[in-house]
């Protein structure tokens, strides 16, 4: 039974791995880039789903965590020579750090930098969450938006660490299909497990009816804070992957535009559905890419942003739950169902 349940998801993972291998071998840099981009968006959307979708605490600050993760890991892996040239004011304990170790072909330093970035972001998220998770509804949205603005201002002004408004560049391009794919798998698996756990049920319960949840003894704060901190960790991971993918960036990247894009993916896919977040990310990335080509052909620049925003509006007015609501695509029953129909046949 358990093996059969695992068969569906295992097949999905296997097929994805096969597709990655083919894409990797094809040398099609454009498509590889697109897929890596998509995988990073999947991580962001799934992490936001944990933070906001499961708990109903609408956070607009997720991209702020991503930005912190991106800068933190990029500083850690930046080669020493570049560090001396671009970030001369770095404190001495950081100036000598260069996480470039590798075991065989595996860049362990990058993995460590990503984990440190995620951990650091979580440590920041904890006190922020302690304060903000008391709030509900619109107040949280405004407060987390404030957090995003604060992060941006700090990134602009802490130029000893970030080069301020100037581009942070020369980051080694560690992120490839495999790294992005592996992290996406980890994030999806962990968040899916959380949804099925007692903590996940507590999150969904207090989202649905706070008073009823309290009445049966659920501490509203705890599941919310857990979702916020774990969601922030994964947003930090996404930031690290992003930094080591595009290799140069500035604080302006991590702002409303990206926030809105990820929220659209979440809402289109369905708040509360992990597979919905994947579907939403795929749909929006594909649509964005298609529209970009239309823009190029028709010279109607900005079309994709308008369509994206319109789509968001249509979903929240016509189909509140998004494509999947909070249901999941029943991959785990893929092979169970076939058996059942076989049993019924004479």
């Amino acid at each position: 039974m358990a093996a059969r349940r695992a068969a569906g998801p295992a097949m999905a993972v296997g097929l994805s791995a096969l597709a990655f291998a083919l894409l990797d071998a094809s040398g099609q840099a454009f498509w590889q880039g697109l897929v890596i981009n998509l995988l990073i968006f999947i991580i962001l959307t799934v992490s936001l789903n944990l933070t906001s979708g499961f708990t109903g605490v609408f956070s607009l600050g997720q991209i702020g965590f991503m930005a912190l993760g991106a800068y933190a890991s990029a500083i850690l892996t930046l080669p020493l020579r570049e560090k001396a040239a671009f970030l001369p004011d770095l404190p001495s304990w950081l100036a000598g750090v260069h996480l470039d170790w590798s075991v065989g072909p595996l860049p362990v330093g990058f993995l460590v930098a990503t984990l440190i970035a995620g951990g650091l972001v979580s440590v920041i998220a904890w006190p922020v969450g302690r304060v903000l998770m008391r709030l509900s509804g619109h107040f949280v949205a405004v407060a987390t938006l404030g957090f995003l603005v604060i992060v941006r201002v700090i990134l602009f002004n802490a130029d000893g660490f970030t080069r301020g408004s100037r581009t942070f560049s020369n980051v080694t391009q560690y992120t490839n299909l495999w790294w992005a794919g592996l992290w996406a798998l980890v994030v999806v698996y962990v968040v899916w497990r959380i949804k099925r756990s007692t903590y996940g049920r507590e999150m969904l319960a207090q989202r649905e009816d706070r008073v009823a949840a309290q009445a049966i003894g659920i501490r509203v704060m705890e599941p919310r804070l857990l979702a916020f901190v774990v969601g922030a960790f994964f947003a930090g991971v996404a930031g690290s992957l992003y930094a080591h993918f595009i290799t140069s960036f500035s604080p302006t990247v991590f702002y409303f535009d990206l926030t809105f894009r990820v929220i659209t993916m979440l809402v289109v896919g369905g708040m509360g559905s992990v597979s919905g977040s994947i579907v939403g990310a795929v749909a929006i990335v594909a649509l964005g890419e298609a529209l970009r080509r239309v823009e190029d052909a028709t010279l109607l620049y900005g079309l994709s942003s308008i369509v994206l925003a319109a789509m968001f509006l249509v979903v929240i007015t016509v189909r509140r739950g998004g494509l999947l609501g909070e249901r999941e695509i029943p991959l785990d029953r893929l092979f169970l169902r076939r058996d059942r129909t076989a049993d019924q046949s004479p």
């Binding site: 049920r201 309290q214 009445a215 049966i216 003894g217 659920i218 509360g272």
Partner: protein, 239 residues
């Protein structure tokens, strides 16, 4: 077992409940009746910690719980089955029930209690994997009571369990309440269905505009002309 003394609860500047005192003894079934807005639900919520009393004291088994957080109050043995059922519609019946035991650590005992709750409400057993929101009103009420029982309470606070249910279902819910009492559970029941409530209760309190106006044994209050006049339909003695 439970003792409220001089409890006052405010919503902002408005005093919703003032100087409310009541006691519930071990094994008793006490009902709190009164018209809409009299402060019954507010009083119940202050016991389970969902609302804070601005004055007065609430004691449970010798411990002051006036300012205790709800999860501790639940863990101490008070379970609140809220008005309007408030089940988690998108979660399954089984998940709803298991969430009722969220304050407990002993998984084996929880599994055993789940079996007992399903024995009391066999209809829930057939619906374990179904979303709570797809249940009928009566089934939802059973689920709400079942969920409240999953924390293994010694005192059950029931808020309007018969609200909006078909007459037949009301009978079944009250039969269940009587059965729970027979099994030794202490119950504080808030009801608008005064007739039924006085039938099953040992003692009753009557609330009017935020204060206690009457109290006494249920069978005495049933014949009290003031209660008959106000709640039992103009003095007619109904069968």
């Amino acid at each position: 077992m439970l003792e409220l003394t001089g409890v006052e609860i405010r919503y902002g500047n408005i005093r919703a409940v003032r100087d409310v005192s009541l006691t519930v003894g071990q094994g008793e079934l006490i009902t709190l009746i009164g018209s809409n807005g009299a402060g019954k639900t507010t009083t119940l919520r202050s016991i389970s910690g969902l609302l804070r009393a601005s004055a007065g004291r609430i004691m449970f088994e010798g411990e002051d719980i006036t300012r205790a957080p709800t999860d501790r109050i639940v863990a101490m043995g008070i379970s609140h089955c809220p008005e309007g059922r408030r089940i988690f519609g998108s979660l399954t019946v089984g998940e709803n029930l298991r969430l009722g035991a969220v304050t407990r650590a002993d998984r084996r005992a929880v599994a055993k209690d789940l079996g007992e709750v399903l024995e009391i409400f066999p209809v829930l057993e057939q619906r374990l994997g179904q979303a709570g929101g797809t249940l009928s009103g009566g089934e939802q009420q059973m689920l709400a009571i079942g969920r409240a029982l999953m924390s293994r309470p010694r005192l059950l606070l029931l808020d309007e369990p018969s609200l909006g249910l078909a007459p037949l279902m009301v009978e079944r819910i009250f039969a269940t309440i009587a059965e729970l009492k027979r099994q030794g559970l202490t119950i504080l029941l808030v009801e608008q269905n005064v007739h039924h409530a006085l039938d099953v209760a040992d003692r009753a309190y009557v609330m009017e505009t935020g204060r206690m106006s009457l109290e006494g044994p249920a069978h005495v209050l049933r014949r009290d002309p003031r209660v008959e006049q106000a709640y039992l339909g103009g003095g007619e003695v109904r069968a």
